[in-house]
């Protein structure tokens, strides 16, 4: 039995799965203390706790900690060498630049100066800083400088994050941000896991605890302890994975709309797989290397504030309290739906009053204006969805083959999730001119997505046979490789490395390894081939666990 819990901004949802069926669901309001919300929702479930095999949490913990800056002062020791002036990227005064430079092939050309590092560490320690991130440019090609700095200061700090372990991707600025956030939220995550464990023990829940990541996969709490930054923005990932679990027709490209009160999240499922944000997620307007699902938000939801701008009906992007039917004062799309006879809850009289203010000003009747409000809302969503699809399809490609054989995303159906899903179905169907699906358990899609997501991990293998060097930054591998190695050898090594390190990566259950990217170039100097430069990205396939799929 699996318990999935999704802690959203407003509600905390839980869903319990046994085999292929949902055995219990529950919902509570999210409070300030997330541990209390988790325990509260777990208590409401009608299940025997000792039967649980695992609990998966999708939390806003690290997201909130970063956005609200609720973390202890965090130090950064950075080496960059020439390029863009790295000081432009420093987020706080606790970022310190030290000497050292590595080039794009991972060759050192300015060494680390131990004295300077030790002095810098002393400055941070004197300030009472306990967590430090270490980042050097091109550390994913050669982690030696980060490791050297780590070894020099290890004894002085409680938690240290190294840039190359965050992600194997290139991008120095994103590596800085990712490492900084990871270091900052580590104590927050550790404290939280301890509190949840204690509370669960009291309830008699002793099974493994997993966390949902932004990429729609899960990982063990020990891996989450090491890389808590991967849990940021797991909310939209939960709803995409929920949509995937509830999608009966995975062969059809599906546009997913998760319509909430304030916003609608838009994503797409292709061949039963959600798509990833190519460079990494952004949080608090800062770019990171955190692998995550490509989802956009539009400020259009059931509670969007409706008003007139130059006698034109507008809906959103902001929300100004609940709908009138629910006791609010300003008109909202929910009130319009009520006037159109789509929903019977709440105080219809208040809705009529709120919409009348607009209808009177336009000299039109309430029903007519209500229809227009919904049309404006749905069109806002549609415009954003089309932009989203356009963006996916205009992604640059780097080979002639891909240029001549474009793999365009064309949605064949729309799946609608969220509170107003059913009420909006016919309107969305008409606007999009596509079949719309509102799955039965749409209300708990997020918790379901968390419960059913597979564990995932990604590693990068970079081999430079001219230098005889193999690096896998995520696993801290930096070793020699045979000068005659080829791409096939690298694949075998990569798959083995992933399996051998499954526990470290937080993997369990069905592990299906797939190659995400592969490149192999002959390195030519003068007129002869002197080696190969090979790059491989290997992942465990994200998706829904097999037991559920075999329904």
């Amino acid at each position: 039995m699996i318990l999935g819990i999704d802690i959203g901004g407003t509600h905390t949802d839980a869903v319990c799965i046994k085999g292929k069926s949902i055995v219990s669901t529950a919902k509570v309001l999210t409070g300030d203390d997330l541990v209390q919300s988790i325990v509260g929702v777990a208590r409401k479930l009608d299940i025997v706790y000792s039967e649980l095999d695992r609990v998966v949490l999708s939390t806003t913990l690290s997201t909130n900690a970063i956005i609200e800056r609720k973390y202890a002062p965090t130090g950064m020791i950075v080496s960059a060498g020439p390029g863009i002036d790295p000081r432009q990227y420093f987020l706080t005064e606790d970022f310190h630049l030290v000497d050292g430079a590595i080039d794009h092939r991972g060759r050192e050309y300015i060494p680390v100066k131990p004295d300077q590092v030790v002095k810098t560490a002393a400055l941070l320690k004197d300030k009472g800083i306990e967590g430090v991130g270490i980042v050097s440019k091109f550390s994913v090609r050669n982690p030696a400088h980060e490791i050297r700095i780590h070894d020099l200061i290890e004894k002085d700090f409680k938690n240290i994050s190294l840039g190359h372990t965050m992600s194997g991707s290139l991008n120095f600025n994103r590596r800085l941000n990712t490492t900084y956030f990871n270091t900052a939220v580590t104590p927050v995550q550790v404290h939280f896991v301890e509190a949840v464990r204690r509370a669960f023990q009291e309830l008699g829940i002793v099974c493994p605890l997993l966390f949902l990541k932004a990429d729609g996969g899960t990982y063990s709490s020990s891996a989450a302890h090491r890389l808590p930054v991967e849990t940021i923005l797991s909310g939209p990932a939960a709803s995409m994975m929920g949509a995937l679990a509830l999608c009966d027709d995975p062969d059809t490209t599906t546009l997913v709309l998760d319509v909430g009160g304030t916003t609608t999240d838009i994503g797409v499922l292709i061949n039963g797989v959600p798509i990833l944000e190519p460079k990494g997620m952004s949080i608090d307007s800062l770019e990171t290397l955190v692998r995550g699902l490509k989802v956009v938000s539009v400020g259009a939801g059931g509670d969007s504030f409706v008003c007139l701008k130059d006698d034109v009906v507008c809906a959103g992007p902001q929300r100004k309290g609940p709908p009138a039917i629910m006791g609010g004062s300003a008109p909202t799309p929910m009130d319009a739906l009520s006037m159109l006879g789509e929903c019977d809850q709440g105080d219809k009289g208040r809705a009529h009053e709120a919409i009348s203010v607009i209808a009177d000003r336009l000299g039109r009747d309430v029903k007519d204006v209500s229809a227009e409000i919904i049309s404006v809302l749905v069109n806002n969503i549609r415009t954003k969805a089309l932009e989203f699809i356009d963006e996916v399809n205009s992604h640059p490609v780097y080979t002639i083959y891909e240029m001549l054989h474009p793999d365009l995303v064309v949605p064949g159906q729309v799946m609608i999730l969220g509170g107003p899903a059913l009420l909006l179905k016919t309107y969305i169907e008409e606007a999009f001119q596509l079949k719309c699906v509102v799955p039965e358990n749409a209300m708990v899609a997020n918790a379901l997505g968390a419960a059913l997501a597979r564990t995932t991990a990604q590693i990068t293998m970079i081999a430079d046979t001219q230098l005889g060097k193999l690096v896998c930054p995520e696993l801290g591998i930096d070793e020699e490789i045979s000068r005659s190695a080829c791409l096939e050898d690298l694949k075998v090594m990569g798959e083995k490395a992933m399996k051998d390190n499954a526990e470290f990566l937080g993997l369990s259950g069905d592990i299906e390894i797939s190659i995400l990217e592969e490149q192999s170039f002959n390195m030519v100097r003068g007129f002869s081939t002197t080696g190969k430069n090979m790059r491989l990205k290997i992942q465990t396939k994200p998706g829904i666990i097999n037991e559920w799929r075999s329904r």
């Binding site: 863009i84 794009h104 640059p396 083959y401 030519v524």
Partner: protein, 435 residues
């Protein structure tokens, strides 16, 4: 977050599945390390810098700039459609106002491809800048005067050839002196055709010229010439083989020098040309150019092995360049004095060698000198591939007399030609008559 002063677009197309041959300088990995550097420096995360997908240039686009013999598909591969298409995309984004400037970081290159194409020369099949310029002139008639500043180490004899007779396209090339490097042309006396005097300006620099010498040319020659010409569009053919580490040339520019050059020039569009020091130069030069285009500080960009003292010019080189600048500026300012009267025909004959494909071509060109328009011209071209063809170029703004002449040549081409080709720019029509 770093903010760019200008909205800059990058059309990156490294063509990882295209090469001339596995050990050729123009091979698959050429832009690999550049991509690594651009990604690691996070240039695409800078607010204001965006990446765009390349497009595909069509046969019509190519036929506006070239006579491909026997036809386009015989002379190019799809890679050329993409690299030319990448340039067109760059131009489109700038001219429609989405961007302030753009860099088509694409391959294969193009500046050795001439108006008549029988195959590849100097690693180039079609002239990607020319295909782009002709696309711009068709779609944006407001763009009248265009300047190409070619900073590749090799003389861009192809671009010079395409615009030799065009009074509205100023082609300026700085390059290593042709007495010491392929293609062996690009001297001050190559100054444009009879109706386009001064619209070609060649600045052959002595081997070992470094940033100081190059920037003197920019400051004292190229910028004053551009200030006078007042182009509506500036294109930098941004070859990067003047770099001190380039394996097939002998110059000493640095990444910082290339960045400074672009900072002075403010091109609307940069197009990658040559540059074969794929590890030691391209990653840094391209980073410098992108930052300079975007108006972001590039002063910390430098090569790991840079030793400025080692590559500094001999003072005699600087003296030589100062004299050359004076001479060329004087020549350019007196360009109008060599005009010829209307109606006369001027002939020239040339032998052209396609080093990449091993093709020899003989051309006989006849231009109708005209005071009312740029003048119609015909080229009888005979290549070792066996093709003997007549091509006729009727320029934009052609007068009635030149049009009559073109039709006369087209209707009665003479014997032995395989086919006659007519490029009618005003009517945007390309006609082929197989004889």
């Amino acid at each position: 977050m770093i903010k760019a002063k200008r909205k800059t677009g990058l059309i990156f197309f490294p063509a990882y599945d295209w090469e001339i041959s596995p050990s050729h300088p123009e091979r698959k990995e050429r832009l690999l390390y550049t991509q690594d550097q651009v990604m690691e420096e996070g240039l695409l995360d800078i607010e204001g810098i965006h990446e765009f997908k390349a497009g595909l240039a069509t046969t019509d686009d190519i036929n506006r700039a070239h006579f491909c013999i026997p036809d386009v598909s015989s002379c190019i591969t799809p890679s050329h459609n993409v690299s030319a298409g990448g340039c067109i995309e760059a131009a489109r984004l700038v001219l429609e106002g989405t961007l302030d400037n753009a860099f088509a970081l694409v391959r294969p290159p193009g500046h050795h491809a001439m108006r008549v194409v029988h195959g590849a020369r100097g690693f180039c099949n079609i002239n990607i800048e020319a295909v782009m310029i002709e696309w711009v002139r068709k779609h944006y008639p407001r763009i009248k005067k265009i300047a190409i500043v070619d900073t590749d180490c090799h003389h861009g004899d192809g671009s010079q050839d395409v615009y030799w007779h065009d009074p509205n396209v100023l082609y300026i090339s700085i390059h290593q002196d042709g007495r010491t490097l392929y293609p062996g042309s690009g001297f001050p006396d190559e100054f444009g055709g009879p109706c386009a005097q001064g619209m070609t300006l060649n600045v052959p620099l002595p081997p070992k010229t470094s940033d100081e010498g190059m920037l003197l040319v920019m400051e004292n020659l190229i910028m004053p010439v551009l200030d006078e010409f007042k182009p509506d569009l500036i294109i930098n053919s941004a070859g990067q083989d003047n770099h001190y580490s380039d394996p097939i040339t002998n110059m000493s520019f640095t990444a910082g020098g290339y960045a400074r050059l672009n900072d002075m020039l403010h091109p609307d569009i940069c197009v990658l040309e040559g540059g074969y020091s794929i590890e030691a130069a391209l990653p840094y030069v391209n980073t410098g150019i992108i930052l300079a285009l975007a108006g972001v500080d590039y002063s910390y960009v430098r090569e790991p092995d840079l030793d400025p003292a080692k590559i500094k010019e001999d003072p005699r080189v600087i003296e030589y360049i100062n004299r050359l600048n004076d001479k060329l500026l004087d020549l350019w300012r007196n360009r109008g004095s060599r005009k010829r009267p209307s109606g006369r025909f001027v002939e020239r004959s040339r032998d052209i060698f396609y080093d990449t494909d091993g093709i020899s071509e003989t051309q006989k060109e006849v231009l109708r000198v005209c005071e009312d328009c740029p003048g119609v011209f015909r080229i009888d071209t005979h290549a070792s591939t066996g093709y003997y063809a007549l091509v006729i170029h009727l320029p934009r703004g052609a007068c009635e007399k030149c049009r009559e002449q073109a039709m006369k040549w087209f209707d009665v081409p003479g014997d032995n030609f395989y086919a006659v080709y007519l490029q009618d720019m005003d009517r945007d029509k390309y006609t082929v008559k197989i004889l």
